[in-house]
């Protein structure tokens, strides 16, 4: 008989080891799954994890890793801040969408001007859009005690409908004979968010992600707000008695994560995606939740987790195209990563006892 016994404090060693163990277990399960699908598992793993970084076309795919990891890291850093404080923003996808719509709309209002001020203005509007969407669950929670998980999640569906109406209606490209989708922002010089250093895939979103990581790291380790965030998450009652203003904390966390998600949306819509289209939302807001936990809610951990997640996307696509792996197998592979992480995390909080006899 196996019994779980709660640890008095979470194990630090297991906390650090569990992501690595989860990755290893995912690999093992992945090998079994690929073999069951009749594909050479070693080749599949090599295509997913090795080729994008060291293979023949790594010069292209390394850049794509940054393109993919940038928004994930940017969003996850904001989410992690809230998760640490016990503020559960599940609706980053919605904030991402609204940020993109606001930023795009702000820019397109000046089309076809070529002023250099347009892009910075769009960035500000994208951030404000994300903040505004994050403020809805924040204020409802502070004023009426609603549950921010539900409100923020439901607002994702509202945002998706806003996106659809923008793409087929009020932001539609007037030159596209009725076809849905806005003008292509990445092809309009004033709004395009292209690679800063050619061939690296690094665009302004990546720069923003780096700044956000540093900012979050400093805030959490050196600033009173960071201390309050950690305290509120670890011991909510103590935090209240200690004079932490919970309402302010909720507003800060949802506003901060909303802003970063909105920025991620703006950099995506002006860069890799190019236009506000029905399918603009590609799930970064949800995947970032996995990234945040995989990175142990630690800004530096999130960088590594974001890059790893990007690798499974980029490599997964390669495996799907070159080896004929079904698209669903790649999704299952990513899902297993979170599954094993949560499973292994049990060891962080619990001790496993092999227990014999019928005492107790």
């Amino acid at each position: 008989m196996i019994r779980l016994e709660r640890r008095p404090t979470p194990s630090r060693a297991w906390g650090a080891a569990s992501p690595l163990l989860a990755v290893a277990l995912t690999m093992v399960a992945g090998v079994l799954m690929f073999a069951a699908l009749g594909k050479d598992p070693v080749e599949a793993l090599r295509t997913i994890f090795w080729d994008p970084v060291f293979g023949e076309f790594a010069w292209y795919f390394r850049g794509q890793l940054l393109v993919k990891a940038g928004p994930l890291i940017l969003i996850a850093v904001g989410l992690a801040m809230g998760f640490r404080a016990g503020v559960w923003n599940i609706g980053a996808e919605g904030q991402y969408i609204v940020g993109a719509i606001c930023g795009a709309a702000a820019g397109l209002a000046f089309y076809p001007s070529d002023s250099w001020l347009i892009f910075p203005f769009m960035v500000i509007c994208g951030a404000l859009g994300g903040i505004a969407w994050g403020m809805i669950p924040a204020l409802l929670k502070v004023k009426f005690g609603t549950n921010e998980i539900l409100v923020s999640l439901m607002l994702v569906y509202v945002a998706e409908n806003l996106l659809a109406s923008a793409a087929v209606g009020w932001l539609r490209n007037p030159d596209a004979v009725g076809f849905p989708g806005s003008r292509n922002l990445s092809r309009w010089d004033a709004s395009s968010n292209l690679e800063l250093i050619a061939g690296t895939g690094l665009h302004w979103g990546g720069v923003a992600a780096i700044i956000a990581v540093i900012f979050a790291y400093v805030l959490l380790t050196r600033h009173l707000m960071g201390f309050q965030i950690r305290l509120a998450g670890a011991a909510p009652r103590a935090a209240r008695f200690g004079g932490v203003n919970t309402a302010r904390l909720v507003v800060f966390c949802l506003g901060f994560s909303g802003m970063l998600a909105g920025l991620a949306g703006l950099f995506e819509v002006t860069g890799p995606a190019g236009q506000v289209s029905i399918d603009f939302a590609s799930g970064y807001g949800f995947t970032a939740i996995i990234v945040a936990f995989l990175g142990r809610l630690n800004p530096l951990g999130i960088v590594a987790a974001g890059l790893l997640m990007a690798l499974t996307y980029v490599g997964g696509e390669a495996a799907s195209a070159n080896l004929g792996l079904p698209g669903a197998a790649i999704s299952a592979f990513q899902g297993m990563l979170l599954f094993f992480l949560l499973a292994v995390d049990v060891l962080t909080n619990f001790r496993v006892r092999i227990w014999q006899g019928a005492t107790a």
């Binding site: 076309f57 010069w59 087929v168 004979v177 009725g178 399918d279 590609s282 696509e317 195209a321 079904p326």
Partner: protein, 368 residues
């Protein structure tokens, strides 16, 4: 474009895109928007891919990637396929338009074929589409005959010219055989979303619609009609993109909702274009084939349809196929009553490709 310089460098070193030797198989790539098992749009494109394999045997090698989202990821998926050595790549959804052109610029030696789009920014990009409105003329005729409530429904995906052509063609031909017919149009704003499509179908049935035409790709409206029929209803549907023959019977074995279908058959086009790459005769073009080319096919008309209606439908198929009839032949007025086509006048392709108006008799506005 640095990628281009990098690539040029790589090619100079002979690392990427090895020159096409005579006996190397031609590598043909397909980018799909849905899963190949969707039973509709993507399924039909994949049938086209299989037909290419069958036609050319070991002279070709095909690769595909399914469920590629129409957004930021499309460009990488297409680039990946080009890097992987594809000689021709078919991108089979409208939303890949800008991505296809962007990748084409970086790979001037690879041919790109974009389905249903209108941008050909580089000499190595061709576009292709099918005249689905020809099929709509046949299903519209059948709808006009079959309706008893004189209300037919049309589930539209997006208010784009291709869909509006279908709505107008269906309505005109239903009206021809049934002057009292009315049409209800519902916009689903999706190409494939079984839940939304089923909701749209149920809402129509509740309004008294008894024939449903769809411009979305799932079989959900067919299932909704089958469900209504199991509860004493009398609702008919048409297979879309694929034959959807499974819905030709109701659950109790009586003739079911699906009475005919419009099948997209991309095989002739894919075989022709891949053949052109093999022969070295590929050139940029904008192809718009229909029934005469075998790209739009009407699936089996079931026995639920009376002989008179079936004969009318078959006559129309024959007339469109031999070129003696164009579904948009005047006199046709626009919705506001103004003249669009004079008696005997035939619509030109330019107007059709930009169609943004309903014909006279359809109620409601095109969302804008």
């Amino acid at each position: 474009m640095t990628l281009k310089t990098l690539l040029a460098g790589a090619m100079a070193l002979g690392l990427a895109a090895p020159a096409l030797a005579q006996d190397d198989p031609v590598k043909v790539g397909f980018i799909y928007v849905g899963p190949i098992g969707d039973g509709g749009w993507t399924f039909q494109h994949d049938q086209g891919r299989l037909a290419v394999e069958e036609e050319f045997g070991d002279r070709v090698e095909t690769v595909f990637q399914e469920s590629v989202p129409e957004g930021a990821d499309a460009e990488r998926a297409i680039t990946q396929m080009a890097l992987g050595g594809a000689d021709i790549i078919f991108t089979t959804s409208f939303g890949y338009m800008d991505a296809t052109n962007a990748v084409a610029e970086k790979f001037p030696d690879v041919k790109f074929e974009h389905a249903t789009g209108f941008k050909r920014e580089h000499p190595n990009v061709a576009t292709y589409d099918a005249r689905f409105y020809e099929g709509r003329a046949v299903t519209g005729t059948l709808a006009g005959y079959m309706t008893e409530t004189n209300k037919i429904g049309y589930i539209g995906s997006f208010p784009i010219p291709e869909v509006i052509q279908g709505i107008n063609s269906s309505f005109l031909h239903a009206q021809k055989v049934n002057p009292d017919v009315e049409m209800v149009v519902t916009w689903a704003y999706t190409w494939f979303d079984p839940a939304k499509e089923a909701d749209a179908a149920r809402a129509m049935i509740d309004q008294g619609v008894d024939v449903i035409l769809q411009h979305t790709d799932s079989t959900a409206p067919q299932a909704a009609a089958q469900e209504a029929n199991a509860n004493g209803g009398r609702v008919f549907t048409f297979g879309q993109a694929s034959d959807m023959i499974a819905f030709a019977t109701n659950e109790d074995g009586t003739p079911g909702p699906r009475i005919a279908s419009i099948i997209d058959d991309w095989s002739p086009y894919y075989i022709e274009r891949v053949g052109a790459v093999i022969d070295g005769t590929w050139e940029q073009q904008a192809s718009w084939g229909g029934m005469p080319e075998g790209e739009v096919v009407i699936g089996e008309i079931t026995d639920a349809v009376p002989a008179e209606a079936k004969a009318a439908a078959e006559e129309m198929i024959a007339a469109i196929t031999d070129g003696s009839y164009h579904p948009f032949t005047g006199p046709i007025n626009k919705q506001d009553g103004s003249v669009w086509l004079e008696d005997g006048e035939v619509a030109d392709d330019g107007t059709l490709a930009g169609m943004d108006f309903y014909v006279e008799g359809i109620a409601g506005d095109i969302p804008n």
